[in-house]
Each structure stands twice: as structure tokens, then as C-alpha cells.
Amino acid sequence: MSPDIFIKATPIVLQGLQLTLIITICSFVLGQILALPLGLARQANSPLLRWPAAIYTFLIRGSPLLVQLFIIYYGLGQIPAVRNSILWPILREPLYCGIIAIALNSAAYMAEVVAGALRRVPKGQTEACISLGISRRHRFTDVLLPQVYREQLPNIGNEIILVLKSSSLASAITIMEITGVARAFTARTFAPFEVFITAGILYLAIGFAFTFLFRLLERRYGITGTRTPAPEASA
């Protein structure tokens, strides 16, 4: 262990910071967007919606993300139809493949979270809407989903940490994010301990920042009447 390798490693590892943040934020946002229709489908009455969503979450959650990354990046390129499609410029790029794979993964987990939270909204909420004549659409947009997302803010905050950690796997498909640059640097210096410790500390710091951000969001929005009020900052 030598301190000057730490000092040398820091700027190198920081080079990966931007890509890590891009992958994490893009995958997380895309995952959240996909999770909503998937979660609604998991809860739908029609088996035509419910089954595909159930199969999707089963496949994604049941297989390792690293394998999914390889399938999307190396596997899809083998299919001529994919190479000739308009999606090829996207699927050719490791960065986009990484973002897509992690987002699809995150969506599968979040879909279960959304579906579970929807199930837990008391039935009386739906009944009150019906008795007031509120349409199905507005029932979701105005009453059910706001409650789901407020209740789920802590889980959503956890999810972005999980996505952050998953982003390190992107190094396996040549992306030079934090873990990627750390690996390349170790190959040159043979000082894995110092370099990866530095990388680990950086991940911790990013995770802490996200956690802090979600704490703020929770304090602002994370209120529901269905549980005892969180101790609010007294004004």
C-alpha cells in the first residue's frame, strides 16, 4: 500500500465518473419509465397484459445482469435482422447497450414494486373514486399512482443505488466507467488494492449523494395519510 498510488489513482478513477453517472441516471430514468406500464400490466385484469409482464419480470429477474449485457451487446449483433434494422446504430454502441440492459433490469424490479404498492392502496380509494364518478384514467393519474409513488420513494431511492452498483458491470462490455478505468489502470500499475479502494470510495460518495437527494424528496413528498406522519421539520 503506497499513498502516492492513491494520489495517482484518484484522477484516473475520476475519469470514469462521468460515464458512471450517465449510465446510472439514464438507466434509472428509463427503468422508471418502463416500470410503470409493466407494473400496471402486472396488475391488469386481462391475462393478455398480465402474462407477458409476468414472463418478462421472471426472465429478467431470474438471470444475471452480466449475462443479459452480453446477450444484448454481443448476441444481438449476430442477428442480421438486427444489424439491418434502424436500431443498429444504437445497439452497436456499448454505452447504449449498457444503458438498455441495466434499464430493462431495473424496470423488471421496479414493476414488481409498483404492482405491489398498487395492491396495497386500500380498496376504499378506488370505491371512493367510483362513487364520485371518477374515470379509470383519472383514478390512476390523480389518486392511485400519486399514492404509490409517494409510498415507494424509499424503494425508488434504493433502486438508484442498485442501478449505480449495476453500472460497474458495464465495464465488461468495454465501457470505461469507474470500474472500467480502474481495471485498465491496475493492468498497468499492478496495484489493484489502492485503485479499487479509490473506486469503491467514489461509488460510496455517489451513492451517498443520491441517498441525500432522495431524503430531501421524501421529506417534501413522502407523505401519505395511510401511515403515521413522519416527524416533519417544524417550521
Binding site: G124, A128, L132, G133, I134, S135, D142, Q147, I223, P229
Partner: protein, 244 residues
């Protein structure tokens, strides 16, 4: 205003409503009572389409309700419902609770909806609570907000499903007072309740249910002073101390 013919409802193999017939005229105030499990809650929930029925016809506030309740939203707002558990929207303040359906269903512009809602809250002496969230209110206040929310839709009929059963005893009266005031305004009401004092004061007719059928219907004086059925006498004896 309400016509129920031969209403039958099964929960699995259990027949919870067994051929109910009930006519309610405009402006009539009905109190529905009976031992728990007699089917009175199920009856009001069938009447406003929250429960599907197995057989029978229901016409309410000018709407013919299909058996599968697929047209239940047509009644929206014309038939107000007050629940035992209030069912306020916990993520909205009181004012938004009141205006949501006015804006979404009646398409009332926000400013106008809020003005009407404020007037309604003032009437309920809840004007100061417009910006409060449901969890910051007492049970009695929450139930009065729920009543106000239904009234904002200018319903032709109001249904109350045990509106005071979930309340602490000291809050029962404020809710009953609001309901009594409403009854004086000529609103058609069906109230499921064990509050026999309220029933005697307010009801035009008391309907007594047991085992999924209507056993007895009578004006309050006749009902309380000369009950016809043994089951009714037994029920009144058990519930007696609450007659005030």
C-alpha cells in the same frame, strides 16, 4: 328515486341478499338497520354499483344499473356515498379532496370548483381546514369532509354506510348533526346505522334486515313501539341502550 326489485347477491355459495325489494321516493329518508351480517351494507353497495349482483333490477336517480356494474360511472356523483372508513384521498388536502371530482367529472373550472368547495366547507364549519391533510383531522372532521366531498357533486341520493361506526364516541354526534341538517333539506337518503336515536328523529321509514331479507319496514314510531317480528324485538332489545 330508487327502485330495487328482487335483488339477489351471492358471495361464493353464500346468499347474502335474498330477493330484496325496495322503493325509495324522492326526498325520503330511510334508515337501514339489522344485526351485523344481515346484508345491509351489501345492499347499499349494490345500489350504487360497488358490488355486482347475481340477479335483480336496480334503478337509481334515473339510471338503470347493469348487473355487472359496467355503467357504474354513469351514476358518478348523482349518488353520493359516505363510507365507514371515510376513504378520503390521503395525499390531497381537504380542498383538493372536494374539488377533484367536480373538476374531473363535472368539468367545473378550478376557480369555480374551489369557490363551491369553500362554501360547502364553511357550511360544515370546516372552512379553516381547507388546506389541512386528512391525517391532520380528527375522525369526525374527516367524515364531515367526506360528506362534503359527496355533496359537492350535488347528488340526488346520498347513501351512508355506517358513517359513525369507525368514530370515537365523542365524535359521533357532530357527524349525526350534519346528517340531520341534510335530512331537513329534502335530500333523498339511505343510512345504514346502529344509531337508533338518529333513526327515530330523522327517518321517514325504517327498514329492518336480517339474513339477507327485509323483515320489517315501518315508520319510526311503529317500528320502535310496536315491532312486528321477534327478530326485530330481539335486535331492539340488544341495541336498546343506544336509543338515547
Amino acid at each position: 328515486m330508487i327502485k330495487v326489485r328482487n335483488l339477489v347477491k351471492y358471495y361464493g355459495p353464500t346468499r347474502v341478499l335474498d330477493g330484496i325489494g325496495l322503493n325509495v321516493e324522492k326526498g325520503e329518508r330511510i334508515v337501514l338497520c339489522g344485526p351485523s351480517g344481515s346484508g345491509k351494507s351489501t345492499l347499499v353497495r349494490c345500489i350504487n354499483g360497488l358490488e355486482q349482483r347475481s340477479a335483480g333490477d336496480i334503478e337509481i336517480a334515473g339510471h338503470v344499473l347493469r348487473a355487472d356494474c359496467s355503467n357504474v360511472l354513469e351514476l358518478g356523483g348523482d349518488v353520493g356515498m359516505v363510507f365507514q372508513q371515510f376513504n378520503l384521498f390521503p395525499h390531497m388536502n381537504v380542498l383538493d379532496n372536494l374539488t377533484l371530482a367536480m373538476r374531473r367529472v363535472r368539468k367545473t373550472p378550478r376557480a369555480e370548483a374551489e369557490a363551491q368547495a369553500m362554501a360547502m366547507l364553511e357550511r360544515m364549519q370546516l372552512g379553516a381546514k381547507a388546506k389541512a391533510y386528512p391525517r391532520e383531522l380528527s375522525g369526525g372532521q374527516q367524515q364531515r369532509v367526506a360528506i362534503a366531498r359527496a355533496l359537492c357533486m350535488k347528488p340526488k341520493v346520498m347513501l351512508f354506510d355506517e358513517p359513525t361506526s369507525a368514530l370515537d364516541p365523542e365524535m359521533v354526534q357532530e357527524v349525526l348533526d350534519v346528517m340531520t341538517a341534510l335530512s331537513r333539506e329534502g335530500l333523498t337518503m339511505i343510512v345504514v346505522t346502529h344509531e337508533m336515536g338518529f333513526a327515530r328523529n330523522v327517518a321517514d321509514r325504517i327498514v329492518f334486515m336480517d339474513g339477507g331479507v327485509i323483515l320489517e319496514e315501518a315508520a319510526p314510531d311503529a317500528f320502535f313501539d310496536h315491532p312486528q317480528h321477534n327478530r326485530t324485538r330481539e335486535f331492539l332489545r340488544q341495541i336498546g341502550p343506544r336509543t338515547h
